[in-house]
């Protein structure tokens, strides 16, 4: 939050930060941030089977200050545990966009790196990095709990050193990510979150935030209606 708090709300007017105390508490905030992280409780694939041992008594992730959290809005880390099928990836992107910044993505298992052993499957998305900015990858099929914890420690180190900024990339290069998402889901793909508006709000808009893909989004964008289930029960 530290960086965001220092950016004036009307950053698009070209004003620079005016607060002389900006950045003084950054290191302290980063230190605290890296030691109290909530991990979203979402098992996307088979790597989730190694999370209960990592979370419970034997390997005990909680001693690092990491706890599972059930709602995306209160979570800091999104763990992608294994392959993501196209149907899951839509939910993953919706979940990621609902999370509050700063937010971190960890790709566990080989399947998130390059498709893994499902490289020829028709149903899975191969490279997670194309759709979401990933902070840390943990390779292996499947990584042991020690490896999961080591990956989380790397993330903690990155946050402490101010390197855990992959989430800004999603705002800064939204057009790139949106283009890959449209390539997979079709041109009428739309999420309820207004990423471009948020990027302007946080002052993170660059020339790559809007582009040809976001123009396609604007053409197809329907006004959001209250969501009603249209399932015949």
């Amino acid at each position: 939050m530290s960086k965001i708090g220092n950016i004036p709300v009307n950053a698009q007017n070209g004003k620079k930060r005016t607060n002389p105390l900006a950045g003084v508490f950054d290191e302290l905030v980063q230190f605290c941030q890296s030691r109290s992280m909530f991990m979203l409780h979402y098992c996307t694939g088979c790597g989730a089977i190694e999370l209960p041992p990592a979370m419970t008594s034997r390997f005990d992730m909680e001693r690092l200050g990491i706890q599972p959290m059930v709602t995306p809005r209160q979570a800091d880390i999104l763990l992608i545990t294994g392959y993501v099928s196209v149907k899951t990836l839509k939910r993953v992107i919706l979940t990621y966009e609902q999370m509050q910044s700063p937010k971190y993505v960890i790709g566990i298992c080989s399947c998130t790196v390059n498709g893994g052993m499902y490289w020829q499957s028709y149903a899975t998305a191969k490279v997670l990095n194309e759709y979401l900015p990933v902070d840390v990858y943990i390779a292996g099929c499947m990584p042991r709990p020690e490896a999961v914890i080591e990956g989380l420690r790397r993330l903690m180190g990155n946050i402490e050193n101010g390197k855990g900024i992959a989430w800004k990339d999603y705002f800064q290069r939204y057009d790139h990510y949106l283009g890959n998402q449209q390539h997979l889901f079709g041109n009428d793909w739309q999420t309820p979150t207004d990423i471009i508006g948020e990027a302007r709000h946080y002052g993170l808009e660059t020339e790559q935030t809007c582009g040809e893909h976001s123009r396609i989004l604007e053409q197809h964008q329907q006004p959001l209606e209250p969501y009603k289930m249209r399932i015949k029960l």
Binding site: L40, H41, Y42, C43, T44, G45, C46, A48, I49, E50, P52, P53, T56, S57, R58, P68, V70, P72, Y83, S85, K87, T88, R91, T95, E97, Q98, M117, Y118, Q120, S121, Y122, A123, T124, C141, M142, R144, P192, T193, D194, G197, E198, L224, E225, P226, Y227, K228, M229, I231, L233
Partner: protein, 380 residues
């Protein structure tokens, strides 16, 4: 989502409303979704929404060599992967008419039972957590981890082993392995009393689980229910005894049965099964040293292996229920067709949809965990 995107939802003039459970929900087992129609807190109807874990296994297997498929079959059911390897190997051996050495059959049964113990321990914790008891999930996962250590010593992998191959198992058991297995079984039996006090006879749990999600025997047979869920309705059907494979005929074990068919009887069947598996493993520890011989019959060069033309249907009893593979070979180096009959697809879709009707909303998660459905096995 920005606050201005929220809108007031106009509800129809009715008390009915709809609710999603999953895929991102702690009360759901894995990546799976369930859509409920509710009146107050009573469930009017439910609709299972599978497909989040679909990878197209049956199609993938048609594009890979016979030996390459061994690497992907355990991924079909993550908590209980050994039966997948064994039943795939059984079908290939059946087509090829390969004799499996006796020692390899004993080692396979040892793995199958150890995997059953690990899977059931995992289930206890999940089921208890849905009723608000979190200690059994810590105990279950910790005790399961000791079984995974044994698997790691035996096969090199904690979760996925790829230890069984057509013709036998990859290598013989390490020195002193049976002693360590015996120690683990001793430890499990000392824990029996603790588990009973904490979970199985604990009134906090028993009152929540009794008379919830009742399934009678006729419905169970009609809907294709197998495994512990069927035995909880009073029918003692077990593939290990009624259609024996490997060396189960030589082993002495009981089929635990409960008659009520509710959530409590399902978890009690699993509890009894766990200790029957301990009993089977004790017999294996006793007999295995006297069974001498190779652990693998020779197979041709696996990278250029044309399995004979034919088809085979083999089934085993996994911890989830009856698991079967139907494998067809057209004489090529890849399978022509492999069909997986997983037990969970019946339990998680039709049984869960029908059984949740009339239940209260807080019991839906418990019913789902008591059926012990495995979402990757549903979607494949």
């Amino acid at each position: 989502m920005r606050p201005e995107n929220y809108q007031v939802v106009s509800l129809p003039n009715s008390d009915e409303y709809e609710l999603f459970i999953g895929p991102n929900h702690p009360g759901i087992e894995g990546n799976y979704a369930f859509k409920l129609k509710l009146d107050g807190d009573r469930v009017i109807s439910g609709k299972a929404d599978a497909g989040y874990l679909h990878r197209g296994f049956e199609k993938l297997m048609e594009g890979r060599l016979w030996i390459q498929n061994l690497a992907i079959v355990p991924r079909i059911c993550v908590p209980d992967p050994v039966p997948m390897e064994v039943v795939y190997s059984l079908t290939v051996e059946d087509i090829e008419k390969t004799e499996v050495p006796l020692r390899a059959q004993w080692i396979r049964v040892m793995q199958l039972e150890l995997s059953r113990i690990a899977s059931h321990l995992f289930t206890f914790g999940g089921h208890a957590a849905t009723t608000g008891m979190y200690t059994p999930s810590y105990w279950g996962v910790a005790d399961r981890d000791l079984a995974l250590d044994l698997f790691e010593e035996l096969t090199g992998g904690r979760v996925y082993h790829i230890y069984n191959i057509p013709g036998g198992v990859r290598r013989d058991i390490p020195n002193g392995f049976l002693d360590r297995l015996s120690d683990y079984l001793d430890y499990l039996q000392t824990r029996q009393n603790d588990y009973d006090n904490l979970l199985f006879t604990n009134q906090v749990f028993v009152k929540r689980a009794r008379d919830i999600g009742v399934l009678n025997q006729e419905q169970a047979l009609e809907w294709g229910v197998t495994g512990p869920n069927l035995r909880a309705t009073g029918l003692a059907f077990d593939v290990r005894r009624d259609d024996p494979y490997l060396i189960y005929e030589q082993l002495d074990f009981d089929i635990p049965v409960q008659s009520a068919g509710d959530c409590l009887s399902r978890i009690l069947v699993r509890r009894d099964e766990l200790f029957q598996s301990v009993r089977i493993l004790r017999q294996i520890i006793k007999h295995l040293p006297s069974v001498k011989g190779p652990v693998r019959s020779p197979i041709p060069n696996p990278l250029a292996w044309n399995v004979a033309k034919g088809e085979s249907y083999c089934r085993v009893e996994s911890s989830k229920g009856e698991l079967a593979y139907y494998t067809v070979s057209d004489g090529g180096d890849k399978p022509y067709r492999v069909h997986v009959r997983g037990a969970s697809s019946m339990h998680a879709v039709q049984v869960l949809e029908n059984m949740s009707v009339g239940q209260r909303i807080e019991d839906v998660a418990q019913i789902m965990f008591s059926l012990d459905a495995c979402p990757p096995e549903v979607d494949r």
